[in-house]
Symmetry: C2
Subunit: 223 residues, 2 copies
C-alpha cells in the first residue's frame, strides 16, 4: 500500500500563477507553447528552423529556460527573434512564477506566438503548468523508442510530439511505429510529427499544425 | 513579484502512482476516464444514462469518490454495473493513491471501461492525475456560463466537456456560445457535448465519442 504526502496547496500555488499567465496571454491573443525534451533532442534546432520559416508571417518571442548559460538564447537572437533568458541556477524545470517574473519584459501587445523552451529534462518540466496553451514534446531518434514507456507523464501531458533527427534513422534501430504507438497509448489523440531539423524533411506538417494553433488562439482573442 | 514554494517531489509522488495505475490499465486494455464537476452538475446522472445505454456492449466498472456516503454508488449498482466506493473523509478530491488502493477489488482482465467519478469540486480534482486516459468535465447550464473563466485549470486539463441540463436553457440566461468559447480558448481542441440527461437530447454525440475512446484504447492494448 502506498502512503505519500499530497500537497494540494503547492500544486494550487503553481497553478494559480499559471492561470494568471494564461489570462494575460489570452487577453493579448498570444499563442504560447512550452517546448520540452531531453537535453540534446533538438529543441533549439526546431526553434531555429521554425522561426526562420515563420517569422515574417507572425510576431514571435522566445523565453529560454536553462540551468545556466545563454547559448540557446544567442541562437534565437541570431535568427532575428527577440528572446529572454531565464537561468534556474540548479532547478531542473521552469515554473509559472519564473515565467511570470519576466513577462514585463515582453511586448505582449505586439506578439502572435510566445515559445517557452524549457530546461532539457524529460521528467519534471511536464509536471509544471506555465500558463501555456500547449505542451510540445520533442523526442529524438537517437534517444531510442522506449522513451514514451519510460517517461509517461511527459507523453501523456503533451499536446503534440515532434520526433526529431529522422535523417539518422537508417543508422539506428529506432522503431518509429513503436514510439508513436506507445505515445498515443498514453495520449489517444496525440499528433506526431517525425522530422529532421537538419534536412528539413517533415517540417511542413509541423509548421502547418503550429500555424493552425496560432490562428485558433487569435480567433478566440478577437471575441 | 510572486514567491511561492514549489514542491516537485510532492507532484512527482502523485504522478508516480498515477503512472503505475495507468500502466496497469494499459496492460489490461481498459479505457479510464475521470469524471469531474461541481456538486450537482449531473455526473452521476450522466453515468446512469451512459451505463444504461452502453452496458450491454462494453464491460464497465465505476469507482465512486465522495467525501462521505455511498448514495451515488447505490445509483450505479442499481443500473447493474459493479462499483467501488472511496470515501475521502474530508478531502476535496481523489488522488492516485486512493485509487491505487482499491484496484485490487476490480477484475481488470474483464473490463473495457472504468469510470472514476471524482468528488464534486471544480477546483482540486483537476490538479491530480489518477492514471486515467482522459479527464471529462461536466458543466451544467444552471451553474452559469462564467465557469470556464473562473475555474480555468479544470477546463484547460479536460479532454472533453459535457454541458448538462440543456433542457433548462429556456429558463435561464445561460450563454452556451460564451461557455464553449471560453472553454475552447483555454483548450483549443476541446470537444463539447451539450446534452440533457433528463430528456436524452444530445446524448448520442457523447456516447459516440466515448465508444471511439474505448475502441482506441483497446486497439493499443492489442499490440
Amino acid at each position: 500500500m502506498h502512503d505519500i504526502p499530497i500537497g494540494a496547496d503547492i500544486l494550487a500555488g503553481n497553478n494559480q500563477v499559471a492561470t494568471e499567465n494564461r489570462g494575460l496571454f489570452h487577453e493579448h491573443g498570444v499563442y504560447v507553447f512550452n517546448l520540452m525534451s531531453s537535453p540534446g533532442a533538438g529543441k533549439t534546432s526546431l526553434l531555429e528552423q521554425t522561426l526562420k520559416r515563420l517569422k515574417d508571417r507572425y510576431r514571435f518571442a522566445v523565453i529560454e529556460g536553462d540551468i545556466q548559460s545563454d547559448d540557446d538564447l544567442q541562437r534565437v537572437l541570431k535568427v532575428g527573434v527577440p528572446g529572454i533568458q531565464i537561468n534556474t541556477h540548479g532547478a531542473c524545470h521552469l515554473n509559472s512564477v519564473l515565467v511570470h517574473n519576466v513577462l514585463g519584459k515582453l511586448d505582449l501587445d505586439h506578439l502572435d506566438c510566445l515559445v517557452i523552451e524549457n530546461v532539457g529534462n524529460l521528467v519534471c518540466p511536464a509536471e509544471f503548468d506555465l500558463g501555456e496553451d500547449d505542451k510540445v514534446a520533442v523526442l529524438s531518434v537517437t534517444e531510442g523508442a522506449d522513451k514514451p514507456r519510460k517517461y509517461p507523464v511527459m507523453f501523456h501531458n503533451a499536446r503534440a510530439l515532434v520526433v526529431n533527427k529522422i535523417d539518422l534513422m537508417p543508422h539506428t534501430d529506432f522503431d518509429l511505429d513503436r514510439a508513436v504507438r506507445d505515445a498515443q497509448r498514453l495520449n489517444l489523440d496525440l499528433p506526431v510529427f517525425p522530422l529532421s531539423c537538419r534536412t528539413g524533411e517533415g517540417l511542413d506538417a509541423w509548421l502547418a499544425w503550429l500555424e493552425q494553433r496560432i490562428a485558433r488562439a487569435r480567433r478566440f482573442a478577437n471575441h
